[in-house]
Symmetry: C2
Protein backbone atom coordinates (compact mmCIF):
# COMPACT_ATOMS: atom_id res chain seq x y z
CA UNK A 1 0.00 0.00 0.00
CA UNK A 2 1.18 3.50 -0.76
CA UNK A 3 1.43 5.44 2.50
CA UNK A 4 1.57 9.12 3.34
CA UNK A 5 5.15 10.33 3.18
CA UNK A 6 6.50 13.52 4.75
CA UNK A 7 7.02 14.80 1.20
CA UNK A 8 3.23 14.62 0.76
CA UNK A 9 2.74 17.42 3.31
CA UNK A 10 3.96 20.31 1.09
CA UNK A 11 2.05 18.76 -1.81
CA UNK A 12 -1.18 18.67 0.23
CA UNK A 13 -0.76 22.42 0.71
CA UNK A 14 0.02 23.08 -2.96
CA UNK A 15 -3.13 21.25 -4.03
CA UNK A 16 -5.13 23.11 -1.41
CA UNK A 17 -3.88 26.47 -2.67
CA UNK A 18 -4.95 25.54 -6.20
CA UNK A 19 -8.41 24.56 -4.94
CA UNK A 20 -8.71 27.74 -2.90
CA UNK A 21 -7.77 29.96 -5.84
CA UNK A 22 -10.30 28.18 -8.04
CA UNK A 23 -12.94 28.46 -5.32
CA UNK A 24 -12.69 32.01 -4.02
CA UNK A 25 -11.07 35.33 -4.79
CA UNK A 26 -11.30 36.36 -1.12
CA UNK A 27 -7.67 36.26 0.03
CA UNK A 28 -8.61 36.47 3.71
CA UNK A 29 -10.83 33.43 3.31
CA UNK A 30 -8.06 31.64 1.39
CA UNK A 31 -5.71 32.24 4.33
CA UNK A 32 -8.24 31.11 6.94
CA UNK A 33 -9.03 27.93 5.05
CA UNK A 34 -5.39 27.12 4.28
CA UNK A 35 -4.61 27.46 7.97
CA UNK A 36 -7.43 25.07 8.78
CA UNK A 37 -6.02 22.64 6.21
CA UNK A 38 -2.87 22.63 8.36
CA UNK A 39 -4.95 21.08 11.13
CA UNK A 40 -6.12 18.33 8.78
CA UNK A 41 -2.52 17.61 7.86
CA UNK A 42 -1.62 17.37 11.55
CA UNK A 43 -4.17 14.56 11.72
CA UNK A 44 -2.67 12.76 8.72
CA UNK A 45 -2.38 9.04 9.36
CA UNK A 46 0.97 7.97 7.94
CA UNK A 47 -0.10 4.34 7.86
CA UNK A 48 -2.72 5.10 5.19
CA UNK A 49 -2.62 6.27 1.56
CA UNK A 50 -2.33 10.02 0.90
CA UNK A 51 -5.82 9.84 -0.63
CA UNK A 52 -7.28 9.56 2.89
CA UNK A 53 -5.77 12.84 4.01
CA UNK A 54 -6.60 14.64 0.77
CA UNK A 55 -10.18 13.44 1.04
CA UNK A 56 -10.51 15.16 4.44
CA UNK A 57 -8.68 18.25 3.22
CA UNK A 58 -10.82 18.80 0.14
CA UNK A 59 -14.02 18.02 2.01
CA UNK A 60 -13.09 20.77 4.46
CA UNK A 61 -12.22 23.21 1.67
CA UNK A 62 -15.59 22.64 -0.02
CA UNK A 63 -17.42 23.09 3.28
CA UNK A 64 -15.61 26.31 4.14
CA UNK A 65 -15.85 27.82 0.64
CA UNK A 66 -19.44 26.68 0.44
CA UNK A 67 -19.16 25.32 -3.10
CA UNK A 68 -17.26 22.95 -5.34
CA UNK A 69 -14.21 24.88 -6.60
CA UNK A 70 -13.72 22.54 -9.56
CA UNK A 71 -17.21 22.70 -11.07
CA UNK A 72 -16.33 25.03 -13.94
CA UNK A 73 -12.89 23.69 -14.74
CA UNK A 74 -14.26 20.14 -14.92
CA UNK A 75 -16.78 21.19 -17.55
CA UNK A 76 -14.04 22.99 -19.41
CA UNK A 77 -11.84 19.89 -19.53
CA UNK A 78 -14.77 17.77 -20.67
CA UNK A 79 -15.25 20.19 -23.56
CA UNK A 80 -11.54 20.15 -24.46
CA UNK A 81 -11.53 16.36 -24.44
CA UNK A 82 -14.79 16.13 -26.41
CA UNK A 83 -13.26 18.32 -29.12
CA UNK A 84 -10.52 15.69 -29.46
CA UNK A 85 -12.95 12.78 -29.38
CA UNK A 86 -13.75 12.46 -33.15
CA UNK A 87 -10.09 12.27 -34.20
CA UNK A 88 -9.23 9.89 -31.35
CA UNK A 89 -12.23 7.72 -32.22
CA UNK A 90 -10.96 7.50 -35.77
CA UNK A 91 -7.49 6.45 -34.53
CA UNK A 92 -9.12 3.62 -32.54
CA UNK A 93 -11.28 2.55 -35.48
CA UNK A 94 -8.35 2.39 -37.85
CA UNK A 95 -6.18 0.50 -35.37
CA UNK A 96 -5.26 -3.13 -35.99
CA UNK A 97 -5.72 -3.68 -32.24
CA UNK A 98 -8.43 -1.28 -31.02
CA UNK A 99 -8.15 -2.63 -27.44
CA UNK A 100 -4.45 -1.72 -27.35
CA UNK A 101 -5.14 1.72 -28.80
CA UNK A 102 -8.12 2.33 -26.53
CA UNK A 103 -6.12 1.36 -23.45
CA UNK A 104 -3.21 3.58 -24.48
CA UNK A 105 -5.53 6.54 -25.05
CA UNK A 106 -7.21 5.95 -21.69
CA UNK A 107 -3.76 6.20 -20.08
CA UNK A 108 -2.98 9.30 -22.17
CA UNK A 109 -6.15 10.95 -20.88
CA UNK A 110 -4.96 10.57 -17.30
CA UNK A 111 -2.56 13.45 -17.98
CA UNK A 112 -5.56 15.78 -17.67
CA UNK A 113 -5.32 15.17 -13.95
CA UNK A 114 -2.05 17.09 -14.03
CA UNK A 115 -3.78 19.79 -16.01
CA UNK A 116 -5.55 21.19 -13.06
CA UNK A 117 -2.49 21.06 -10.86
CA UNK A 118 0.15 22.07 -13.39
CA UNK A 119 0.43 22.77 -17.08
CA UNK A 120 -0.77 19.96 -19.28
CA UNK A 121 0.24 18.76 -22.71
CA UNK A 122 -2.63 16.56 -23.87
CA UNK A 123 -1.37 16.15 -27.43
CA UNK A 124 2.09 15.22 -26.14
CA UNK A 125 0.58 12.69 -23.79
CA UNK A 126 -1.42 11.12 -26.63
CA UNK A 127 1.68 10.87 -28.81
CA UNK A 128 3.69 9.38 -26.00
CA UNK A 129 1.00 6.83 -25.16
CA UNK A 130 0.65 5.73 -28.78
CA UNK A 131 4.31 5.72 -29.74
CA UNK A 132 6.42 4.91 -26.67
CA UNK A 133 6.65 1.89 -24.43
CA UNK A 134 4.83 2.08 -21.09
CA UNK A 135 6.97 1.99 -17.94
CA UNK A 136 4.91 -1.01 -16.81
CA UNK A 137 3.02 -2.86 -19.52
CA UNK A 138 0.83 -5.82 -18.58
CA UNK A 139 -1.18 -5.49 -21.79
CA UNK A 140 -0.94 -9.20 -22.65
CA UNK A 141 -2.42 -10.20 -19.27
CA UNK A 142 -5.00 -7.44 -19.68
CA UNK A 143 -6.09 -8.75 -23.07
CA UNK A 144 -6.19 -12.33 -21.83
CA UNK A 145 -8.18 -11.41 -18.72
CA UNK A 146 -10.68 -9.51 -20.85
CA UNK A 147 -11.28 -12.49 -23.11
CA UNK A 148 -12.02 -14.62 -20.04
CA UNK A 149 -14.47 -12.25 -18.32
CA UNK A 150 -17.68 -10.70 -19.57
CA UNK A 151 -18.49 -8.15 -16.87
CA UNK A 152 -16.12 -5.24 -16.39
CA UNK A 153 -16.20 -2.70 -13.58
CA UNK A 154 -14.56 0.49 -14.85
CA UNK A 155 -13.46 2.97 -12.16
CA UNK A 156 -13.34 6.38 -13.77
CA UNK A 157 -10.94 9.01 -12.48
CA UNK A 158 -11.22 12.62 -13.69
CA UNK A 159 -13.40 14.92 -15.71
CA UNK A 160 -11.93 15.44 -19.18
CA UNK A 161 -10.14 12.12 -18.93
CA UNK A 162 -13.59 10.50 -18.86
CA UNK A 163 -13.91 11.19 -22.61
CA UNK A 164 -10.77 9.11 -23.18
CA UNK A 165 -12.33 6.39 -21.01
CA UNK A 166 -15.33 6.43 -23.31
CA UNK A 167 -13.07 5.34 -26.18
CA UNK A 168 -11.85 2.31 -24.24
CA UNK A 169 -15.34 1.50 -22.94
CA UNK A 170 -16.66 1.57 -26.52
CA UNK A 171 -13.98 -0.95 -27.52
CA UNK A 172 -14.95 -3.17 -24.59
CA UNK A 173 -18.62 -2.99 -25.60
CA UNK A 174 -17.73 -3.84 -29.19
CA UNK A 175 -16.00 -6.94 -27.76
CA UNK A 176 -19.34 -7.93 -26.24
CA UNK A 177 -18.46 -6.97 -22.66
CA UNK A 178 -20.93 -5.61 -20.16
CA UNK A 179 -19.33 -2.52 -18.67
CA UNK A 180 -20.36 -0.70 -15.50
CA UNK A 181 -18.66 2.67 -15.19
CA UNK A 182 -18.18 4.06 -11.71
CA UNK A 183 -18.06 7.75 -10.83
CA UNK A 184 -17.80 9.55 -7.51
CA UNK A 185 -20.88 9.99 -5.35
CA UNK A 186 -20.33 13.72 -4.99
CA UNK A 187 -17.75 16.31 -6.09
CA UNK A 188 -14.16 15.96 -4.97
CA UNK A 189 -11.39 17.86 -6.75
CA UNK A 190 -11.54 17.18 -10.49
CA UNK A 191 -12.91 13.64 -10.14
CA UNK A 192 -15.76 12.70 -12.43
CA UNK A 193 -19.30 12.57 -11.03
CA UNK A 194 -22.53 11.59 -12.76
CA UNK A 195 -22.71 15.06 -14.38
CA UNK A 196 -19.39 14.42 -16.11
CA UNK A 197 -20.60 10.99 -17.22
CA UNK A 198 -23.55 12.75 -18.87
CA UNK A 199 -21.34 15.41 -20.46
CA UNK A 200 -18.94 12.79 -21.81
CA UNK A 201 -21.77 10.65 -23.18
CA UNK A 202 -20.87 7.66 -21.00
CA UNK A 203 -24.44 7.32 -19.74
CA UNK A 204 -25.59 6.64 -23.33
CA UNK A 205 -23.27 3.69 -23.86
CA UNK A 206 -23.16 1.73 -20.59
CA UNK A 207 -24.44 1.47 -17.04
CA UNK A 208 -23.06 4.18 -14.82
CA UNK A 209 -23.14 3.94 -11.06
CA UNK A 210 -21.70 6.16 -8.40
CA UNK A 211 -19.69 4.89 -5.46
CA UNK A 212 -21.65 6.97 -2.93
CA UNK A 213 -18.49 8.63 -1.74
CA UNK A 214 -16.58 11.91 -1.97
CA UNK A 215 -13.29 10.16 -1.25
CA UNK A 216 -10.28 10.51 -3.52
CA UNK A 217 -9.56 7.15 -5.10
CA UNK A 218 -11.75 4.26 -4.02
CA UNK A 219 -11.91 3.90 -0.25
CA UNK A 220 -14.24 0.95 0.08
CA UNK A 221 -15.35 1.52 3.64
CA UNK A 222 -16.32 5.09 2.73
CA UNK A 223 -18.42 3.87 -0.23
CA UNK A 224 -22.11 3.05 -0.29
CA UNK A 225 -23.16 -0.52 0.61
CA UNK A 226 -24.55 -0.96 -2.91
CA UNK A 227 -21.20 -0.02 -4.47
CA UNK A 228 -19.35 -2.27 -2.04
CA UNK A 229 -21.61 -5.10 -3.24
CA UNK A 230 -20.95 -4.29 -6.91
CA UNK A 231 -17.22 -4.14 -6.27
CA UNK A 232 -17.22 -7.42 -4.31
CA UNK A 233 -19.08 -9.22 -7.10
CA UNK A 234 -17.13 -7.76 -10.01
CA UNK A 235 -15.13 -10.16 -12.17
CA UNK A 236 -12.57 -7.73 -13.47
CA UNK A 237 -11.80 -4.14 -12.52
CA UNK A 238 -10.23 -1.47 -14.72
CA UNK A 239 -9.00 1.25 -12.42
CA UNK A 240 -8.02 4.67 -13.69
CA UNK A 241 -5.71 7.15 -12.04
CA UNK A 242 -3.22 7.32 -9.23
CA UNK A 243 -5.80 7.87 -6.48
CA UNK A 244 -7.49 4.56 -7.29
CA UNK A 245 -4.08 2.89 -7.46
CA UNK A 246 -3.09 4.28 -4.05
CA UNK A 247 -6.25 3.07 -2.41
CA UNK A 248 -6.77 -0.27 -4.22
CA UNK A 249 -3.26 -1.63 -4.75
CA UNK A 250 -2.87 -4.74 -2.64
CA UNK A 251 -6.57 -5.61 -3.04
CA UNK A 252 -7.37 -9.27 -3.68
CA UNK A 253 -9.51 -8.34 -6.68
CA UNK A 254 -8.28 -8.78 -10.23
CA UNK A 255 -7.55 -5.16 -11.11
CA UNK A 256 -5.76 -3.52 -14.00
CA UNK A 257 -4.46 -0.06 -13.10
CA UNK A 258 -4.20 2.38 -16.00
CA UNK A 259 -2.55 5.62 -14.98
CA UNK A 260 0.33 8.05 -15.05
CA UNK A 261 2.35 8.31 -11.86
CA UNK A 262 1.89 11.94 -11.06
CA UNK A 263 4.01 12.52 -7.98
CA UNK A 264 7.51 11.79 -6.74
CA UNK A 265 6.37 9.79 -3.72
CA UNK A 266 4.30 7.24 -5.64
CA UNK A 267 6.77 7.11 -8.52
CA UNK A 268 9.66 6.41 -6.12
CA UNK A 269 7.62 3.67 -4.43
CA UNK A 270 7.13 2.09 -7.88
CA UNK A 271 10.79 2.59 -8.81
CA UNK A 272 9.75 4.78 -11.74
CA UNK A 273 10.26 8.34 -12.79
CA UNK A 274 7.45 10.84 -12.27
CA UNK A 275 5.07 10.98 -15.24
CA UNK A 276 5.54 7.30 -16.10
CA UNK A 277 2.66 5.59 -17.88
CA UNK A 278 1.44 2.28 -16.52
CA UNK A 279 -0.90 -0.55 -17.44
CA UNK A 280 -0.28 -2.59 -14.32
CA UNK A 281 -2.08 -5.68 -13.08
CA UNK A 282 -2.72 -6.10 -9.36
CA UNK B 1 8.23 44.84 2.44
CA UNK B 2 8.05 41.25 1.26
CA UNK B 3 5.18 39.50 3.05
CA UNK B 4 4.29 35.87 3.65
CA UNK B 5 2.30 34.55 0.74
CA UNK B 6 0.13 31.42 0.74
CA UNK B 7 2.68 29.89 -1.65
CA UNK B 8 5.24 30.18 1.17
CA UNK B 9 3.37 27.55 3.21
CA UNK B 10 4.36 24.50 1.13
CA UNK B 11 7.87 25.91 0.91
CA UNK B 12 8.10 26.24 4.71
CA UNK B 13 7.33 22.52 4.89
CA UNK B 14 9.83 21.60 2.19
CA UNK B 15 12.60 23.46 4.00
CA UNK B 16 11.57 21.84 7.27
CA UNK B 17 11.76 18.36 5.74
CA UNK B 18 15.29 19.08 4.52
CA UNK B 19 16.29 20.28 7.99
CA UNK B 20 14.71 17.24 9.61
CA UNK B 21 16.48 14.80 7.31
CA UNK B 22 19.79 16.52 7.97
CA UNK B 23 19.11 16.50 11.71
CA UNK B 24 17.79 13.01 12.49
CA UNK B 25 17.35 9.60 10.93
CA UNK B 26 14.46 8.83 13.30
CA UNK B 27 11.42 8.89 11.01
CA UNK B 28 8.97 8.95 13.91
CA UNK B 29 10.69 12.03 15.30
CA UNK B 30 10.69 13.61 11.81
CA UNK B 31 6.92 13.12 11.64
CA UNK B 32 6.31 14.50 15.14
CA UNK B 33 8.42 17.57 14.47
CA UNK B 34 6.95 18.21 11.02
CA UNK B 35 3.49 18.09 12.54
CA UNK B 36 4.55 20.61 15.16
CA UNK B 37 5.89 22.83 12.36
CA UNK B 38 2.32 22.89 11.03
CA UNK B 39 1.33 24.67 14.23
CA UNK B 40 4.02 27.31 13.65
CA UNK B 41 2.70 27.84 10.13
CA UNK B 42 -0.82 28.30 11.51
CA UNK B 43 0.62 31.18 13.52
CA UNK B 44 2.26 32.74 10.45
CA UNK B 45 1.70 36.47 10.34
CA UNK B 46 0.94 37.35 6.71
CA UNK B 47 1.74 40.99 7.32
CA UNK B 48 5.41 40.15 7.97
CA UNK B 49 8.26 38.76 5.86
CA UNK B 50 8.51 34.95 5.48
CA UNK B 51 11.79 35.14 7.42
CA UNK B 52 9.79 35.69 10.63
CA UNK B 53 7.89 32.45 10.26
CA UNK B 54 10.96 30.46 9.17
CA UNK B 55 12.84 31.81 12.17
CA UNK B 56 10.22 30.32 14.51
CA UNK B 57 10.04 27.09 12.52
CA UNK B 58 13.76 26.42 12.51
CA UNK B 59 14.12 27.43 16.15
CA UNK B 60 11.50 24.81 17.00
CA UNK B 61 13.17 22.17 14.82
CA UNK B 62 16.52 22.74 16.56
CA UNK B 63 14.89 22.55 19.98
CA UNK B 64 13.03 19.33 19.21
CA UNK B 65 15.95 17.61 17.48
CA UNK B 66 18.26 18.84 20.21
CA UNK B 67 21.01 19.96 17.85
CA UNK B 68 21.83 22.12 14.85
CA UNK B 69 21.00 20.02 11.77
CA UNK B 70 23.21 22.16 9.53
CA UNK B 71 26.47 22.00 11.49
CA UNK B 72 28.22 19.46 9.28
CA UNK B 73 26.92 20.65 5.93
CA UNK B 74 27.99 24.21 6.70
CA UNK B 75 31.55 23.08 7.32
CA UNK B 76 31.40 21.06 4.12
CA UNK B 77 30.32 24.08 2.08
CA UNK B 78 33.03 26.22 3.68
CA UNK B 79 35.58 23.64 2.52
CA UNK B 80 34.15 23.50 -1.01
CA UNK B 81 34.25 27.29 -1.24
CA UNK B 82 37.77 27.49 0.26
CA UNK B 83 38.99 25.09 -2.41
CA UNK B 84 37.77 27.59 -5.02
CA UNK B 85 39.22 30.60 -3.17
CA UNK B 86 42.75 30.67 -4.73
CA UNK B 87 41.49 30.67 -8.32
CA UNK B 88 38.76 33.22 -7.53
CA UNK B 89 41.30 35.41 -5.73
CA UNK B 90 43.45 35.37 -8.82
CA UNK B 91 40.46 36.39 -10.99
CA UNK B 92 39.88 39.38 -8.70
CA UNK B 93 43.58 40.35 -8.68
CA UNK B 94 43.81 40.24 -12.47
CA UNK B 95 40.60 42.21 -12.91
CA UNK B 96 40.71 45.77 -14.26
CA UNK B 97 37.92 46.58 -11.75
CA UNK B 98 38.44 44.36 -8.68
CA UNK B 99 35.42 45.92 -6.94
CA UNK B 100 33.14 44.90 -9.84
CA UNK B 101 34.60 41.40 -9.91
CA UNK B 102 34.46 41.02 -6.12
CA UNK B 103 30.82 42.13 -6.04
CA UNK B 104 29.89 39.76 -8.85
CA UNK B 105 31.60 36.85 -7.12
CA UNK B 106 29.88 37.70 -3.84
CA UNK B 107 26.56 37.45 -5.70
CA UNK B 108 27.68 34.20 -7.35
CA UNK B 109 28.42 32.73 -3.91
CA UNK B 110 24.83 33.32 -2.85
CA UNK B 111 23.89 30.31 -5.00
CA UNK B 112 25.30 28.11 -2.22
CA UNK B 113 22.16 28.93 -0.31
CA UNK B 114 20.26 26.92 -2.90
CA UNK B 115 22.80 24.14 -2.49
CA UNK B 116 21.37 23.01 0.76
CA UNK B 117 17.82 23.20 -0.47
CA UNK B 118 18.30 21.94 -4.01
CA UNK B 119 21.12 20.97 -6.32
CA UNK B 120 23.70 23.67 -6.79
CA UNK B 121 25.93 24.62 -9.69
CA UNK B 122 28.61 26.83 -8.16
CA UNK B 123 30.80 26.97 -11.28
CA UNK B 124 27.76 27.86 -13.39
CA UNK B 125 26.81 30.60 -10.96
CA UNK B 126 30.35 32.06 -11.08
CA UNK B 127 30.33 32.06 -14.88
CA UNK B 128 26.94 33.65 -14.98
CA UNK B 129 27.89 36.35 -12.46
CA UNK B 130 31.09 37.23 -14.34
CA UNK B 131 29.74 37.06 -17.88
CA UNK B 132 26.05 37.99 -17.87
CA UNK B 133 24.19 41.15 -16.96
CA UNK B 134 22.53 41.25 -13.54
CA UNK B 135 18.72 41.46 -13.47
CA UNK B 136 19.10 44.58 -11.32
CA UNK B 137 22.46 46.31 -11.47
CA UNK B 138 23.09 49.38 -9.33
CA UNK B 139 26.86 48.94 -9.53
CA UNK B 140 27.55 52.54 -10.45
CA UNK B 141 25.70 53.80 -7.37
CA UNK B 142 27.42 51.12 -5.32
CA UNK B 143 30.87 52.23 -6.49
CA UNK B 144 30.04 55.88 -5.90
CA UNK B 145 28.64 55.23 -2.42
CA UNK B 146 31.75 53.28 -1.50
CA UNK B 147 34.05 56.13 -2.50
CA UNK B 148 32.05 58.46 -0.28
CA UNK B 149 31.99 56.30 2.86
CA UNK B 150 34.83 54.77 4.84
CA UNK B 151 32.99 52.44 7.24
CA UNK B 152 31.12 49.48 5.78
CA UNK B 153 28.80 47.13 7.62
CA UNK B 154 28.77 43.84 5.75
CA UNK B 155 25.86 41.50 6.57
CA UNK B 156 26.99 37.99 5.75
CA UNK B 157 24.46 35.37 4.72
CA UNK B 158 25.45 31.71 4.48
CA UNK B 159 28.28 29.34 5.22
CA UNK B 160 30.24 28.54 2.05
CA UNK B 161 29.11 31.81 0.54
CA UNK B 162 31.12 33.55 3.28
CA UNK B 163 34.32 32.63 1.42
CA UNK B 164 33.03 34.58 -1.59
CA UNK B 165 32.27 37.47 0.76
CA UNK B 166 35.89 37.37 1.87
CA UNK B 167 36.94 38.20 -1.70
CA UNK B 168 34.76 41.31 -1.75
CA UNK B 169 35.76 42.33 1.78
CA UNK B 170 39.43 42.07 0.79
CA UNK B 171 38.79 44.41 -2.12
CA UNK B 172 37.05 46.87 0.22
CA UNK B 173 39.99 46.74 2.64
CA UNK B 174 42.43 47.31 -0.22
CA UNK B 175 40.38 50.44 -1.01
CA UNK B 176 41.10 51.64 2.55
CA UNK B 177 37.64 50.89 3.95
CA UNK B 178 37.00 49.77 7.49
CA UNK B 179 34.76 46.74 7.24
CA UNK B 180 32.70 45.16 10.02
CA UNK B 181 31.35 41.77 9.03
CA UNK B 182 28.18 40.59 10.75
CA UNK B 183 27.28 36.96 11.38
CA UNK B 184 24.36 35.37 13.21
CA UNK B 185 24.38 35.17 17.00
CA UNK B 186 23.64 31.44 16.97
CA UNK B 187 22.94 28.71 14.42
CA UNK B 188 19.95 29.03 12.10
CA UNK B 189 19.73 26.91 8.93
CA UNK B 190 22.90 27.37 6.87
CA UNK B 191 23.52 30.96 7.96
CA UNK B 192 27.07 31.84 8.91
CA UNK B 193 27.98 32.18 12.58
CA UNK B 194 31.31 33.15 14.15
CA UNK B 195 32.62 29.60 13.58
CA UNK B 196 32.11 30.00 9.84
CA UNK B 197 33.84 33.39 9.95
CA UNK B 198 36.83 31.63 11.52
CA UNK B 199 36.76 28.80 8.98
CA UNK B 200 36.54 31.23 6.06
CA UNK B 201 39.38 33.38 7.43
CA UNK B 202 37.19 36.48 7.78
CA UNK B 203 38.26 36.99 11.39
CA UNK B 204 41.86 37.50 10.21
CA UNK B 205 41.06 40.33 7.84
CA UNK B 206 38.40 42.50 9.50
CA UNK B 207 36.26 43.02 12.58
CA UNK B 208 33.56 40.42 12.92
CA UNK B 209 30.56 40.90 15.15
CA UNK B 210 27.47 38.81 15.65
CA UNK B 211 23.96 40.21 15.65
CA UNK B 212 22.96 38.36 18.83
CA UNK B 213 20.08 36.68 17.05
CA UNK B 214 19.05 33.34 15.56
CA UNK B 215 16.62 35.02 13.18
CA UNK B 216 16.71 34.43 9.44
CA UNK B 217 17.69 37.67 7.74
CA UNK B 218 18.19 40.69 9.97
CA UNK B 219 15.21 41.29 12.24
CA UNK B 220 16.40 44.33 14.14
CA UNK B 221 14.13 44.02 17.15
CA UNK B 222 15.32 40.44 17.64
CA UNK B 223 18.98 41.52 17.55
CA UNK B 224 21.20 42.45 20.47
CA UNK B 225 21.20 46.11 21.62
CA UNK B 226 24.89 46.35 20.69
CA UNK B 227 24.20 45.22 17.13
CA UNK B 228 21.22 47.56 16.87
CA UNK B 229 23.60 50.37 17.85
CA UNK B 230 26.19 49.30 15.24
CA UNK B 231 23.49 49.08 12.57
CA UNK B 232 22.03 52.46 13.50
CA UNK B 233 25.43 54.14 13.29
CA UNK B 234 26.61 52.43 10.13
CA UNK B 235 27.30 54.64 7.10
CA UNK B 236 26.78 52.05 4.41
CA UNK B 237 25.43 48.51 4.55
CA UNK B 238 26.21 45.68 2.18
CA UNK B 239 23.53 43.06 2.69
CA UNK B 240 23.87 39.53 1.35
CA UNK B 241 21.10 37.07 0.61
CA UNK B 242 17.36 37.01 0.20
CA UNK B 243 16.61 36.73 3.93
CA UNK B 244 18.36 40.03 4.62
CA UNK B 245 16.59 41.58 1.65
CA UNK B 246 13.18 40.38 2.90
CA UNK B 247 13.74 41.80 6.35
CA UNK B 248 15.61 45.03 5.51
CA UNK B 249 14.05 46.23 2.27
CA UNK B 250 12.22 49.48 2.96
CA UNK B 251 14.73 50.43 5.67
CA UNK B 252 15.85 54.05 5.73
CA UNK B 253 19.49 53.00 5.79
CA UNK B 254 21.69 53.18 2.71
CA UNK B 255 21.86 49.49 1.86
CA UNK B 256 23.10 47.60 -1.18
CA UNK B 257 21.50 44.18 -1.48
CA UNK B 258 23.62 41.55 -3.23
CA UNK B 259 21.72 38.29 -3.76
CA UNK B 260 20.01 35.81 -5.99
CA UNK B 261 16.23 35.69 -5.77
CA UNK B 262 15.73 32.12 -4.73
CA UNK B 263 11.97 31.67 -4.62
CA UNK B 264 8.96 32.38 -6.82
CA UNK B 265 7.22 34.61 -4.27
CA UNK B 266 10.08 37.09 -3.84
CA UNK B 267 10.98 36.96 -7.53
CA UNK B 268 7.41 37.72 -8.55
CA UNK B 269 7.31 40.60 -6.07
CA UNK B 270 10.44 41.99 -7.77
CA UNK B 271 9.06 41.32 -11.25
CA UNK B 272 11.98 38.99 -11.96
CA UNK B 273 12.41 35.33 -12.76
CA UNK B 274 13.53 32.98 -10.01
CA UNK B 275 17.31 32.71 -9.79
CA UNK B 276 17.87 36.31 -10.90
CA UNK B 277 21.05 38.00 -9.68
CA UNK B 278 20.77 41.44 -8.13
CA UNK B 279 22.96 44.28 -6.93
CA UNK B 280 20.13 46.48 -5.76
CA UNK B 281 20.28 49.71 -3.79
CA UNK B 282 17.65 50.40 -1.14
Amino acid sequence: MIKVHLDCFPCFLKQSIISLRLGTKDEGLQETILKSVLIEIQNADLSRPPAYTTTFIHRKIRQLIGKDPFEEIKSEYNKVALSLYPSLKSIVEKSSDPLWTGARLAIAGNVIDFGIFASVDIEGSINRALNSPLAVDDYNSFKKALYEKSNILYLIDNAGEIVFDRLLIEVLISMGKKVTAVVKGSPVINDATIEDAFEAGITEICDVTDNGSDAIGTILNCSSPSFQEIFRESQLVISKGQGNFETLTGSEKKIFFLFQSKCDVVSKELGLSTGSMLLKKS
